[in-house]
Symmetry: none
Subunit: 145 residues, 4 copies
């Protein structure tokens, strides 16, 4: 039997809170999704003005980052024409996402979930996802439990 | 030109809060989805222990209730063998959901969104969805704005 | 953070072994799938002569049983015309399976995975899935670890 | 009437065994899928720690290699921008996979199945798939039957 660590709903809310604050700072209303380590949705918020298409894309970025244990941005690099993972973006019915904005959430070396942002540029999406993770890791570090 | 009334993210959180409280009362961890009047996801929460399959089903219940402007339970009745809507549950790739737990959110006669619950019995799912709506309508009534 | 128990590959093989032995006993070549507690595939075997359609159905039965934490057979009962879950079988693109043969694998009260069989009658599929679980639980009970 | 040669379940297990040993050697937990000559799944194993996304991708690589009678890596080359098969990766709902790691299993000039690996780099996936085939072909050569 394996023992797996997984984000709780309380954890997911902290991740979203951190990402949302950064999105407010940069003035871009975002769709924000958090999945567990298996890529299954735990929580989602579309800020007022977030893009409709991003409701799906944010979820698929979080799914990809958690399920493949890497950033979606890294897939974008690895799948350029002529590169080894070229064409990977159509995998899993197109859910495998290679556009920046999806990050695995890693605690003590284990992937415990994923966060995906969409509505800004990929760089903005990544920046906000990263802010969510940093906010979460700070809360874990200060948690007396 | 049309003017559409639509749930905000703040509204969606209130709907989820009301549904979650009822779910805690009855002791069933739920997946809770809130969509806008077009059936597009605004917010989602999977309570710790909510079912994996329900992450999709809750969203599709909310989508159906908002998009079709009726409860998913009413579709279950209307699509029994021999009834007029028989077979409607395969529509839209199976997203059109006829199991109870999806309700349109109606304000002043207008559908402004949908709420879908899944993980309990359909009756429990509906009860919690209804609790979310009642919690939301109370907050609207007391809002000085 | 949550801590989750999950079947290992070694566990999945034991489940398949037990199911296969029963399938050989009753003379029905089966497709046998084992998923983790999130419904994601760990191991699969199609016995020589197993049905092509069952390669998918066995996986979806295991997915449903693990993800919804109940037998697929129980969904068949709950979704008869006039019953509350009528029409649930088209959910999740039709992956939610209501035909017998899918069972959750439960250890110490926690769903740690799912097993799905297909190629026989639903009763035969269920019988073999149950045999797999019993074989696995015996091995857990005698494991000195 | 045609007579088709096809991998048995026993053959599929040998293919997986060879691939898994190589995966253990290089220290990458893999998802390993073996299909028959029609691309239909015979056996699958996710080594502990294999990626969730790879549960699907490994199957689709094996499907593609068996069904199209060529390596998935060769499709990657043939579908570069400006090449004749450009865009083929969206075929069959995205199941046609052009990333390395899927190989046809060929015996006496006939494609009798396919093997697909996923979780490492495409080069690692291909290396392990090849190891599986070599392990299998050695077992065929020494089989007194």
């Amino acid at each position: 039997m394996l023992t797996i660590k997984r984000l709780s709903l309380a954890d997911a809310r902290i991740l979203i809170e951190g990402a949302r604050k950064k999105a407010e700072d940069i003035g871009v209303p975002m769709c924000i999704a958090v999945t567990d380590e298996s890529g299954q949705l735990i929580a989602f918020e579309r800020m007022d003005g977030g893009k409709i298409t991003s409701t799906i894309i944010a979820q698929d970025k979080a799914y990809t980052a958690a399920g493949a244990k890497r950033t979606t941005e890294s897939y974008g690099i690895a799948s350029q024409p002529g590169s080894a993972a070229y064409g990977i973006n159509t995998a899993i019915g197109g859910r495998l996402t290679i556009v920046g904005g999806g990050l695995p959430v890693i605690v003590d070396g284990d992937v415990v979930g994923g966060i995906g942002l969409s509505s800004g540029t990929p760089a903005q999406d990544t920046e906000c996802a990263q802010a969510g993770i940093e906010h979460f890791l700070r809360s874990v570090a200060t948690d007396p439990a």
